[in-house]
């Protein structure tokens, strides 16, 4: 039997170890190295207690919900439609869940209703953006304001307290010393990463975000992909709202305010782009959030002025953008 020579379009055979190492090139490599530095600084500055179970629990609990919301929102980013309404959707989802549970309704049923609200919000965003070709930034900014307003209409005084023990235990608990909610968040991230890199739908999402006209010419339904991505984004935010109620035992009308900036800053640090679709990987998003959460924790446990957090996050964000440009931007991807 004679071996056939590789054609121009065959992927070159790469050893598994080399393939793993290759995956750390680009943004994921940069952010991995940044995370390692962050952990080292934490170890030196805070001491061994930085890696104590209680501290890992604090970091894990604080990062898990933004992670789940961010990973789901990243599908919209990949599809080239930024969804600015996720923070308000988290808040509104939490308000809906909290208020309905307080009336005595079954928590599972209420969770289903809350997810349904997320679907409706996502479809509304998608309808205006896809059907009328409206600018996603403007539409989702409008939705952000609308949902925040609705939260304030619903919650006009002190919100009811709804400490749901099983949900509280999931959001605050640990399995083998590791925060349960973070494990769930990592699971969601890995599934999302698998969908993005290993499935046809993932490649379609990237193709639509990268160049929607080319994707359409290749027979991909751009509208369908963007509708699904925007619904996934809103549903992720609604689930985040439910989890926040579990964690906090209530939901005020300001819950989730500014969360969209926190999440998108971390996603951009992790290699996503607000203005360019088709770029980024959920693993990068996870690492970006862990870097920000790690820095936050270092500042918190050393009781450093919290205002420095915004300063540091901004510096790293700008650096990440410059690194992206420096290494070639689109040409590199």
């Amino acid at each position: 039997m004679t071996a056939t020579a590789p054609t121009l379009f065959d992927d070159p055979v790469v050893p598994p170890l080399r393939r793993i190492l290759n995956s750390f090139r680009g943004p994921v490599g940069s952010i991995s190295a940044t995370l390692v530095v962050t952990l080292l600084v934490g170890l030196i500055w805070v001491g061994p207690s930085f890696f104590s179970p209680s501290n890992i629990q604090i970091v894990g609990v604080s990062v898990a919900i933004p992670l789940i919301v961010g990973v789901m929102a990243s599908f919209a980013l990949l599809a080239g439609v930024v969804d600015l309404s996720i923070g308000s959707m988290v808040g509104f989802g939490a308000v809906v869940f909290n208020q309905l549970v307080a009336t005595g309704m079954n928590a599972w049923l209420v969770a289903l209703i809350t997810v349904g609200v997320g679907v409706v919000v996502g479809l509304t965003n998608a309808f205006v953006i896809v059907r009328f070709g409206a600018e996603p930034l403007a539409v989702t900014l409008g939705m952000l304001t609308l949902l925040r307003g609705l939260s304030q209409v619903v919650v006009v005084s002190a919100p009811p307290s709804t400490l749901i023990e099983p949900l509280y235990n999931v959001t605050q608990g640990a399995i083998a010393g590791f925060p349960t909610l973070l494990l769930i968040g990592i699971g969601v991230t890995l599934i999302a990463a698998g969908i993005v890199s290993k499935t046809r739908i993932g490649r379609k999402v990237q193709a639509v975000g990268g160049d929607d006209r080319a994707a359409a010419r290749a027979g991909i339904s751009v509208s369908k992909v963007r509708v699904i991505a925007l619904v996934a984004s809103s549903v992720g935010a609604a689930v985040g709202g439910i989890l926040y109620v579990g964690q906090l035992g209530s939901a005020s009308n300001v819950l989730g305010t500014g969360l969209e900036f926190q999440i998108y800053a971390a996603l951009m640090i992790g290699g996503y782009s607000i203005t360019r679709g088709g770029v980024g990987n959920p693993i990068g998003g996870l690492l970006g959030l862990l870097v920000v959460a790690g820095i936050t924790n270092i500042l918190n446990v050393t009781f450093t002025d919290p205002n420095y957090l915004d300063l540091i996050t901004a510096i790293i964000l700008v650096a990440a953008v410059l690194v992206d440009r420096f290494r070639g931007g689109d040409a590199f991807e």
Binding site: A33, T38, Q57, S252, N300, T302, D305, F332
Partner: protein, 362 residues
Amino acid sequence: MTHFTRGRLARLGLVAVAAASLMLAGCSTVGSTSGASTDSATDSTFTVGFAVGGQPDADWQDLQGEVAKGLAEQRGWNFVELSNDNSEATATKNADIFIQKGVNMVMMFNGQPSANPVIAKKYADAGIPVVTFDIAQPGWYFVGVDNATAGTDGGTALGNLAKSKWNCQVDLVISAEGTAAGQINTWRTGNARDAVKKVCPNIPEANYVSYEADGNLTTSLANAPGVFAAHPDAKNILVVGLNDQAVVGALQAATQLGRDGSIMGWGQDGGLITGANVDPHLAGSVMYFLEGYPAEAFKIADEIAAGKAPAVKDTGTDPAASVQPCPVTAAQAAAIPNINDRVSQLAAAPQGTTEYDLFCKA
């Protein structure tokens, strides 16, 4: 230079920026004394954890932390401070950090108290006593002003001004509400409104209007123009509200709209009645000396540190410590030092002194 080489350099650059940023922050550790990075669990010195509110436009919240830090230093205690950042999620995380640090007690102002039941559960499980300012929570020592009296005092003073200046001919009484504060809003805003009615009983009921100011200047300034637009003929206007920020938001809106020809407001808390930039239409306020609340809280802390924890009094009607309200006109307030000087004077005063003792008794 190839992309590969540039990429390597870029990655190194990002890592360097991360490290440099953290080191930069490390040069400026604030809000802690006596080696805050040392776990209190391994240190027998009494440690106070202090969570400031972190609400925007509220300098007094940061200054509460300054006062508390000074009082802890007076006693030779450890002091660690975090900001709740006006977020219930952050307040909950801060509770975990204080518990991890093994503090002996916590003092806090939480402007988003919806998570307080969860936070209370965490502290109760850890056996850490908590002093809360102004917002009551079962199981926590409550330190706050007598809100009902404060509301009545402010409304009475404003009503008397309307009587002397306008013979109670008032076209509009605006209530800048902060409904999220619940009963506190009812006491402060509602009682002030009732007191105006009592002094000037002939003001028609239709002349009383309310809007949501949410207890902050930004929201108040954004929402107040609607009230003025809905009452275009109103000339003599009174404003009461949850706090100084809410009231000043309405007064500034009136100025922006050219409706400030005949308007007077009376605030609550005294946050904006002293200093160089007092709104000229803010006729007075009820000063609580908010930044000085820790002075009351440390009286409780002294007993806890001495091993004689007092019985928990956790309601506004039966507080662990009641802060005396101090109604002042703008002219009287001008004689009171600004907030930073008050903090300095309180820090220099003998242990147990309050700002009411220093600035209101006289």
